[in-house]
Subunit: 201 residues, 2 copies
Protein backbone atom coordinates (compact mmCIF):
# COMPACT_ATOMS: atom_id res chain seq x y z
CA UNK A 1 0.00 0.00 0.00
CA UNK A 2 1.28 3.39 -1.01
CA UNK A 3 0.19 6.88 -0.14
CA UNK A 4 -3.47 7.00 -0.97
CA UNK A 5 -3.08 10.62 -1.93
CA UNK A 6 -0.90 9.72 -4.89
CA UNK A 7 -2.14 11.94 -7.68
CA UNK A 8 -2.28 9.04 -10.09
CA UNK A 9 -4.57 7.16 -7.72
CA UNK A 10 -6.78 10.16 -7.20
CA UNK A 11 -7.02 10.75 -10.91
CA UNK A 12 -7.77 7.13 -11.69
CA UNK A 13 -10.38 6.74 -9.01
CA UNK A 14 -12.09 9.95 -9.99
CA UNK A 15 -12.17 8.85 -13.61
CA UNK A 16 -13.63 5.49 -12.67
CA UNK A 17 -16.21 7.00 -10.40
CA UNK A 18 -17.49 9.57 -12.85
CA UNK A 19 -17.47 7.03 -15.66
CA UNK A 20 -19.62 4.79 -13.53
CA UNK A 21 -22.10 7.53 -12.69
CA UNK A 22 -22.54 8.63 -16.27
CA UNK A 23 -22.85 5.04 -17.45
CA UNK A 24 -25.47 4.24 -14.84
CA UNK A 25 -27.44 7.20 -16.09
CA UNK A 26 -27.14 5.79 -19.60
CA UNK A 27 -27.87 2.14 -19.19
CA UNK A 28 -28.37 1.30 -15.54
CA UNK A 29 -26.16 -0.33 -12.98
CA UNK A 30 -26.83 -3.96 -13.77
CA UNK A 31 -26.13 -3.57 -17.46
CA UNK A 32 -22.67 -2.16 -16.76
CA UNK A 33 -19.53 -4.17 -17.27
CA UNK A 34 -16.13 -3.38 -15.84
CA UNK A 35 -14.96 -3.08 -19.42
CA UNK A 36 -17.58 -0.38 -20.10
CA UNK A 37 -16.36 1.58 -17.13
CA UNK A 38 -12.66 1.37 -17.92
CA UNK A 39 -13.28 2.16 -21.59
CA UNK A 40 -15.23 5.26 -20.62
CA UNK A 41 -12.66 6.23 -18.01
CA UNK A 42 -9.83 5.69 -20.46
CA UNK A 43 -7.86 3.41 -18.21
CA UNK A 44 -6.70 -0.15 -18.58
CA UNK A 45 -9.08 -2.78 -17.35
CA UNK A 46 -6.38 -4.26 -15.14
CA UNK A 47 -6.05 -0.93 -13.41
CA UNK A 48 -9.62 -1.17 -12.23
CA UNK A 49 -8.77 -4.29 -10.27
CA UNK A 50 -5.93 -2.51 -8.51
CA UNK A 51 -8.51 -0.35 -6.77
CA UNK A 52 -11.73 -2.29 -6.61
CA UNK A 53 -12.74 -5.90 -6.24
CA UNK A 54 -15.57 -5.58 -8.76
CA UNK A 55 -18.26 -3.15 -9.81
CA UNK A 56 -20.25 -3.79 -6.67
CA UNK A 57 -17.28 -2.89 -4.54
CA UNK A 58 -16.91 0.28 -6.56
CA UNK A 59 -20.51 1.19 -5.97
CA UNK A 60 -20.35 0.39 -2.28
CA UNK A 61 -17.33 2.58 -1.82
CA UNK A 62 -18.98 5.36 -3.75
CA UNK A 63 -22.14 5.05 -1.73
CA UNK A 64 -20.35 4.82 1.57
CA UNK A 65 -19.64 8.52 1.79
CA UNK A 66 -23.17 9.43 0.84
CA UNK A 67 -24.80 7.22 3.42
CA UNK A 68 -22.50 8.46 6.16
CA UNK A 69 -23.34 12.05 5.32
CA UNK A 70 -27.02 11.33 5.27
CA UNK A 71 -26.94 9.49 8.53
CA UNK A 72 -25.12 12.38 10.13
CA UNK A 73 -27.60 14.91 8.81
CA UNK A 74 -30.56 12.92 10.05
CA UNK A 75 -29.28 12.12 13.51
CA UNK A 76 -26.95 14.91 14.55
CA UNK A 77 -28.96 17.86 13.47
CA UNK A 78 -32.10 17.19 15.31
CA UNK A 79 -33.91 15.14 17.87
CA UNK A 80 -37.62 15.69 17.72
CA UNK A 81 -39.71 16.23 20.82
CA UNK A 82 -43.42 15.49 21.12
CA UNK A 83 -44.16 19.18 20.79
CA UNK A 84 -42.33 19.35 17.48
CA UNK A 85 -44.77 16.92 15.95
CA UNK A 86 -47.75 19.03 16.94
CA UNK A 87 -46.32 21.75 14.75
CA UNK A 88 -45.11 21.46 11.21
CA UNK A 89 -42.03 23.66 11.56
CA UNK A 90 -39.49 21.36 13.14
CA UNK A 91 -39.81 18.34 10.84
CA UNK A 92 -39.91 20.81 7.97
CA UNK A 93 -36.43 22.02 8.88
CA UNK A 94 -35.04 18.48 8.82
CA UNK A 95 -36.62 17.72 5.49
CA UNK A 96 -35.16 20.88 3.99
CA UNK A 97 -31.69 19.72 5.04
CA UNK A 98 -32.22 16.35 3.42
CA UNK A 99 -33.40 17.86 0.15
CA UNK A 100 -30.48 20.23 0.13
CA UNK A 101 -28.10 17.32 0.46
CA UNK A 102 -29.81 15.37 -2.28
CA UNK A 103 -29.64 18.40 -4.51
CA UNK A 104 -25.90 18.77 -3.91
CA UNK A 105 -25.39 15.14 -4.92
CA UNK A 106 -28.13 14.92 -7.49
CA UNK A 107 -26.18 13.04 -10.16
CA UNK A 108 -25.25 10.18 -7.89
CA UNK A 109 -28.51 10.15 -6.00
CA UNK A 110 -30.36 9.87 -9.25
CA UNK A 111 -28.36 6.80 -10.15
CA UNK A 112 -29.16 5.26 -6.80
CA UNK A 113 -32.81 6.13 -6.59
CA UNK A 114 -33.70 6.54 -10.23
CA UNK A 115 -35.30 4.07 -12.58
CA UNK A 116 -31.95 2.69 -13.69
CA UNK A 117 -30.83 2.04 -10.13
CA UNK A 118 -30.69 -1.11 -8.09
CA UNK A 119 -33.14 -2.26 -5.48
CA UNK A 120 -30.53 -3.47 -3.05
CA UNK A 121 -28.94 -0.03 -3.09
CA UNK A 122 -32.25 1.67 -2.63
CA UNK A 123 -32.99 -0.52 0.32
CA UNK A 124 -29.65 0.25 1.86
CA UNK A 125 -30.45 3.92 1.74
CA UNK A 126 -34.02 3.42 2.88
CA UNK A 127 -32.76 1.55 5.88
CA UNK A 128 -30.43 4.34 6.84
CA UNK A 129 -33.08 7.00 6.52
CA UNK A 130 -35.52 4.81 8.25
CA UNK A 131 -33.45 4.06 11.31
CA UNK A 132 -32.23 7.60 11.67
CA UNK A 133 -35.56 9.25 11.23
CA UNK A 134 -37.97 6.81 12.78
CA UNK A 135 -36.32 4.71 15.39
CA UNK A 136 -34.67 7.67 17.01
CA UNK A 137 -37.25 10.36 16.39
CA UNK A 138 -40.76 9.27 15.57
CA UNK A 139 -40.94 5.97 17.30
CA UNK A 140 -40.76 7.17 20.92
CA UNK A 141 -43.50 9.69 20.24
CA UNK A 142 -46.07 7.24 19.09
CA UNK A 143 -48.35 5.87 21.74
CA UNK A 144 -49.28 2.30 21.06
CA UNK A 145 -52.78 2.76 22.43
CA UNK A 146 -53.56 5.39 19.83
CA UNK A 147 -52.40 3.31 16.86
CA UNK A 148 -55.15 2.70 14.34
CA UNK A 149 -52.78 0.72 12.12
CA UNK A 150 -49.76 -1.49 12.96
CA UNK A 151 -46.63 0.55 13.42
CA UNK A 152 -44.63 -1.30 10.80
CA UNK A 153 -47.16 -0.48 8.09
CA UNK A 154 -47.32 3.12 9.17
CA UNK A 155 -43.54 3.16 8.88
CA UNK A 156 -43.48 1.50 5.47
CA UNK A 157 -46.13 3.89 4.28
CA UNK A 158 -44.24 7.02 5.28
CA UNK A 159 -40.81 5.80 4.25
CA UNK A 160 -41.94 4.67 0.81
CA UNK A 161 -44.05 7.78 0.28
CA UNK A 162 -41.17 10.12 1.01
CA UNK A 163 -38.88 8.08 -1.16
CA UNK A 164 -41.36 8.23 -3.98
CA UNK A 165 -41.56 12.00 -3.82
CA UNK A 166 -37.79 12.36 -3.75
CA UNK A 167 -37.49 10.02 -6.72
CA UNK A 168 -40.03 12.03 -8.66
CA UNK A 169 -38.23 15.23 -7.83
CA UNK A 170 -34.90 13.83 -9.04
CA UNK A 171 -36.52 12.50 -12.22
CA UNK A 172 -37.93 15.97 -12.87
CA UNK A 173 -34.47 17.45 -12.65
CA UNK A 174 -34.85 19.01 -9.20
CA UNK A 175 -36.94 21.92 -10.45
CA UNK A 176 -38.38 22.82 -7.06
CA UNK A 177 -36.23 24.25 -4.28
CA UNK A 178 -35.50 22.16 -1.20
CA UNK A 179 -37.77 24.50 0.79
CA UNK A 180 -40.63 24.00 -1.62
CA UNK A 181 -40.17 20.23 -1.56
CA UNK A 182 -40.06 20.18 2.21
CA UNK A 183 -43.29 22.15 2.28
CA UNK A 184 -44.92 19.69 -0.11
CA UNK A 185 -43.76 16.66 1.82
CA UNK A 186 -44.69 17.90 5.27
CA UNK A 187 -48.08 19.02 3.99
CA UNK A 188 -48.76 15.61 2.54
CA UNK A 189 -47.79 13.80 5.69
CA UNK A 190 -49.19 16.18 8.31
CA UNK A 191 -52.48 16.98 6.69
CA UNK A 192 -52.85 13.64 4.94
CA UNK A 193 -52.49 13.14 1.19
CA UNK A 194 -56.17 13.52 0.30
CA UNK A 195 -56.49 16.74 2.21
CA UNK A 196 -53.31 18.07 0.63
CA UNK A 197 -54.74 17.18 -2.76
CA UNK A 198 -57.87 19.15 -2.06
CA UNK A 199 -60.22 16.19 -2.08
CA UNK A 200 -61.36 17.06 1.43
CA UNK A 201 -62.15 20.64 2.27
Amino acid sequence: MAPADDRRVIRTKAAIRSAMISLIEEKGFEALSVKDITDKANINRSTFYLHYVDKFDLFDQTLEGITQDLHRILTEIITLTPDDLQDIKMPYAVVVKVFEYFLANAALMKTVLGTKGNIALQNKMKKIMWSALFEKNFSPLIKKENLVVPFEYFASYIAAAHFGVIQQWLENGCRETPEEMARILTNLTFRGPLFAAGVFH
Copy 2:
Protein backbone atom coordinates in the same frame (compact mmCIF):
# COMPACT_ATOMS: atom_id res chain seq x y z
CA MET B 1 -46.13 -24.44 -35.51
CA ALA B 2 -47.80 -27.30 -33.75
CA PRO B 3 -50.46 -27.40 -31.07
CA ALA B 4 -49.26 -25.08 -28.36
CA ASP B 5 -50.95 -27.33 -25.83
CA ASP B 6 -48.39 -30.07 -26.37
CA ARG B 7 -47.82 -31.52 -22.92
CA ARG B 8 -44.07 -31.38 -23.29
CA VAL B 9 -44.22 -27.66 -23.93
CA ILE B 10 -46.53 -27.04 -21.02
CA ARG B 11 -44.33 -29.07 -18.72
CA THR B 12 -41.15 -27.40 -19.88
CA LYS B 13 -42.51 -23.88 -19.61
CA ALA B 14 -43.95 -24.54 -16.19
CA ALA B 15 -40.64 -25.96 -15.00
CA ILE B 16 -38.73 -22.98 -16.34
CA ARG B 17 -41.15 -20.53 -14.82
CA SER B 18 -41.15 -22.01 -11.36
CA ALA B 19 -37.39 -22.48 -11.46
CA MET B 20 -37.03 -18.82 -12.23
CA ILE B 21 -39.32 -17.73 -9.43
CA SER B 22 -37.57 -19.82 -6.81
CA LEU B 23 -34.16 -18.73 -8.05
CA ILE B 24 -35.13 -15.06 -7.94
CA GLU B 25 -36.15 -15.58 -4.34
CA GLU B 26 -32.73 -17.09 -3.68
CA LYS B 27 -30.36 -14.78 -5.44
CA GLY B 28 -32.26 -12.09 -7.26
CA PHE B 29 -33.10 -11.62 -10.89
CA GLU B 30 -29.89 -9.99 -12.07
CA ALA B 31 -27.67 -12.69 -10.62
CA LEU B 32 -29.47 -15.42 -12.51
CA SER B 33 -28.01 -17.16 -15.52
CA VAL B 34 -29.93 -19.17 -18.07
CA LYS B 35 -27.85 -22.12 -17.01
CA ASP B 36 -29.01 -21.70 -13.39
CA ILE B 37 -32.59 -21.78 -14.54
CA THR B 38 -32.30 -24.80 -16.80
CA ASP B 39 -30.29 -26.72 -14.20
CA LYS B 40 -32.96 -26.06 -11.60
CA ALA B 41 -35.70 -26.89 -14.07
CA ASN B 42 -33.91 -30.06 -15.14
CA ILE B 43 -34.07 -29.29 -18.81
CA ASN B 44 -31.41 -28.89 -21.42
CA ARG B 45 -30.10 -25.38 -21.85
CA SER B 46 -30.86 -25.49 -25.57
CA THR B 47 -34.49 -26.13 -24.77
CA PHE B 48 -34.72 -22.80 -23.01
CA TYR B 49 -33.91 -21.00 -26.24
CA LEU B 50 -36.65 -22.86 -28.06
CA HIS B 51 -39.17 -21.00 -25.92
CA TYR B 52 -37.58 -17.74 -24.86
CA VAL B 53 -35.15 -15.27 -26.36
CA ASP B 54 -33.36 -14.72 -23.07
CA LYS B 55 -34.09 -14.41 -19.37
CA PHE B 56 -35.64 -10.98 -19.84
CA ASP B 57 -38.06 -12.35 -22.37
CA LEU B 58 -38.93 -15.09 -19.92
CA PHE B 59 -39.66 -12.56 -17.23
CA ASP B 60 -41.67 -10.34 -19.52
CA GLN B 61 -43.84 -13.21 -20.60
CA THR B 62 -44.31 -14.28 -17.01
CA LEU B 63 -45.21 -10.78 -15.97
CA GLU B 64 -47.53 -10.21 -18.88
CA GLY B 65 -50.34 -12.27 -17.45
CA ILE B 66 -50.01 -10.65 -14.06
CA THR B 67 -50.15 -7.13 -15.37
CA GLN B 68 -53.14 -7.87 -17.56
CA ASP B 69 -55.01 -9.33 -14.61
CA LEU B 70 -54.16 -6.39 -12.43
CA HIS B 71 -55.15 -3.87 -15.03
CA ARG B 72 -58.46 -5.61 -15.46
CA ILE B 73 -59.12 -5.67 -11.73
CA LEU B 74 -58.35 -2.00 -11.35
CA THR B 75 -60.31 -0.68 -14.30
CA GLU B 76 -63.20 -3.06 -14.89
CA ILE B 77 -64.40 -3.48 -11.38
CA ILE B 78 -64.93 0.07 -10.42
CA THR B 79 -65.11 3.65 -11.47
CA LEU B 80 -65.09 5.95 -8.52
CA THR B 81 -67.49 8.86 -8.22
CA PRO B 82 -66.85 12.00 -6.14
CA ASP B 83 -69.19 10.66 -3.48
CA ASP B 84 -67.13 7.50 -3.12
CA LEU B 85 -64.14 9.50 -2.04
CA GLN B 86 -66.10 11.20 0.74
CA ASP B 87 -66.64 7.78 2.22
CA ILE B 88 -64.03 5.15 2.87
CA LYS B 89 -66.08 2.14 1.75
CA MET B 90 -65.75 2.22 -2.00
CA PRO B 91 -61.97 2.59 -2.33
CA TYR B 92 -61.73 0.00 0.40
CA ALA B 93 -63.49 -2.54 -1.79
CA VAL B 94 -61.05 -1.96 -4.64
CA VAL B 95 -58.07 -2.29 -2.38
CA VAL B 96 -59.35 -5.57 -0.99
CA LYS B 97 -59.55 -6.95 -4.53
CA VAL B 98 -55.99 -5.91 -5.22
CA PHE B 99 -54.67 -7.52 -2.06
CA GLU B 100 -56.58 -10.68 -2.79
CA TYR B 101 -54.95 -10.89 -6.17
CA PHE B 102 -51.50 -10.27 -4.75
CA LEU B 103 -52.10 -12.96 -2.18
CA ALA B 104 -53.09 -15.45 -4.85
CA ASN B 105 -49.86 -14.73 -6.72
CA ALA B 106 -47.68 -14.04 -3.72
CA ALA B 107 -44.65 -16.03 -4.86
CA LEU B 108 -44.29 -14.19 -8.10
CA MET B 109 -45.30 -10.82 -6.73
CA LYS B 110 -42.67 -11.14 -4.08
CA THR B 111 -40.03 -11.67 -6.72
CA VAL B 112 -41.22 -8.61 -8.59
CA LEU B 113 -41.66 -6.27 -5.67
CA GLY B 114 -39.30 -7.78 -3.13
CA THR B 115 -35.77 -6.82 -2.28
CA LYS B 116 -34.30 -9.18 -4.87
CA GLY B 117 -36.45 -7.77 -7.63
CA ASN B 118 -35.68 -5.36 -10.39
CA ILE B 119 -36.50 -1.69 -10.56
CA ALA B 120 -37.56 -1.73 -14.18
CA LEU B 121 -40.11 -4.41 -13.37
CA GLN B 122 -41.36 -2.52 -10.34
CA ASN B 123 -41.80 0.56 -12.44
CA LYS B 124 -43.71 -1.36 -15.06
CA MET B 125 -46.15 -2.49 -12.44
CA LYS B 126 -46.31 0.90 -10.76
CA LYS B 127 -47.20 2.44 -14.07
CA ILE B 128 -50.04 0.03 -14.61
CA MET B 129 -51.47 0.54 -11.15
CA TRP B 130 -50.94 4.21 -11.47
CA SER B 131 -52.74 4.72 -14.74
CA ALA B 132 -55.60 2.44 -13.84
CA LEU B 133 -56.16 3.81 -10.40
CA PHE B 134 -55.30 7.48 -10.71
CA GLU B 135 -55.76 8.68 -14.24
CA LYS B 136 -59.13 7.06 -14.57
CA ASN B 137 -60.41 7.34 -11.03
CA PHE B 138 -58.79 9.89 -8.77
CA SER B 139 -57.62 12.46 -11.25
CA PRO B 140 -61.01 13.74 -12.41
CA LEU B 141 -62.10 14.19 -8.82
CA ILE B 142 -59.35 16.50 -7.82
CA LYS B 143 -60.04 20.16 -8.20
CA LYS B 144 -56.95 22.07 -9.15
CA GLU B 145 -57.98 25.10 -7.11
CA ASN B 146 -57.95 23.07 -3.92
CA LEU B 147 -54.49 21.58 -4.44
CA VAL B 148 -52.08 22.47 -1.68
CA VAL B 149 -49.29 20.46 -3.37
CA PRO B 150 -48.55 19.77 -7.07
CA PHE B 151 -50.57 16.89 -8.38
CA GLU B 152 -47.59 14.87 -9.54
CA TYR B 153 -46.08 14.83 -6.06
CA PHE B 154 -49.37 13.92 -4.50
CA ALA B 155 -49.50 11.07 -7.00
CA SER B 156 -45.95 9.93 -6.32
CA TYR B 157 -46.60 10.08 -2.63
CA ILE B 158 -49.68 7.87 -2.73
CA ALA B 159 -48.36 5.43 -5.31
CA ALA B 160 -45.07 4.88 -3.51
CA ALA B 161 -46.73 4.69 -0.11
CA HIS B 162 -49.14 1.99 -1.20
CA PHE B 163 -46.37 0.10 -2.90
CA GLY B 164 -44.28 0.26 0.25
CA VAL B 165 -47.07 -1.19 2.35
CA ILE B 166 -47.68 -3.99 -0.14
CA GLN B 167 -43.97 -4.76 -0.21
CA GLN B 168 -43.83 -4.91 3.56
CA TRP B 169 -46.82 -7.19 3.65
CA LEU B 170 -45.25 -9.57 1.12
CA GLU B 171 -41.95 -9.54 3.03
CA ASN B 172 -43.84 -10.45 6.19
CA GLY B 173 -45.33 -13.47 4.47
CA CYS B 174 -48.83 -12.05 3.98
CA ARG B 175 -49.82 -12.55 7.59
CA GLU B 176 -52.74 -10.10 7.51
CA THR B 177 -55.87 -10.77 5.48
CA PRO B 178 -56.61 -8.68 2.39
CA GLU B 179 -59.48 -7.06 4.30
CA GLU B 180 -57.21 -6.10 7.17
CA MET B 181 -54.61 -4.69 4.78
CA ALA B 182 -57.22 -2.72 2.90
CA ARG B 183 -58.41 -1.26 6.19
CA ILE B 184 -54.86 -0.28 7.11
CA LEU B 185 -54.15 1.29 3.76
CA THR B 186 -57.37 3.24 3.46
CA ASN B 187 -56.99 4.47 7.03
CA LEU B 188 -53.50 5.72 6.34
CA THR B 189 -54.50 7.54 3.20
CA PHE B 190 -57.91 8.88 4.24
CA ARG B 191 -57.09 9.99 7.73
CA GLY B 192 -53.48 10.80 7.01
CA PRO B 193 -50.53 8.76 8.27
CA LEU B 194 -49.87 10.72 11.45
CA PHE B 195 -53.49 10.53 12.50
CA ALA B 196 -53.57 6.81 11.77
CA ALA B 197 -50.44 6.40 13.87
CA GLY B 198 -52.09 8.12 16.79
CA VAL B 199 -49.81 11.12 16.84
CA PHE B 200 -52.79 13.43 16.47
CA HIS B 201 -55.85 12.82 18.57
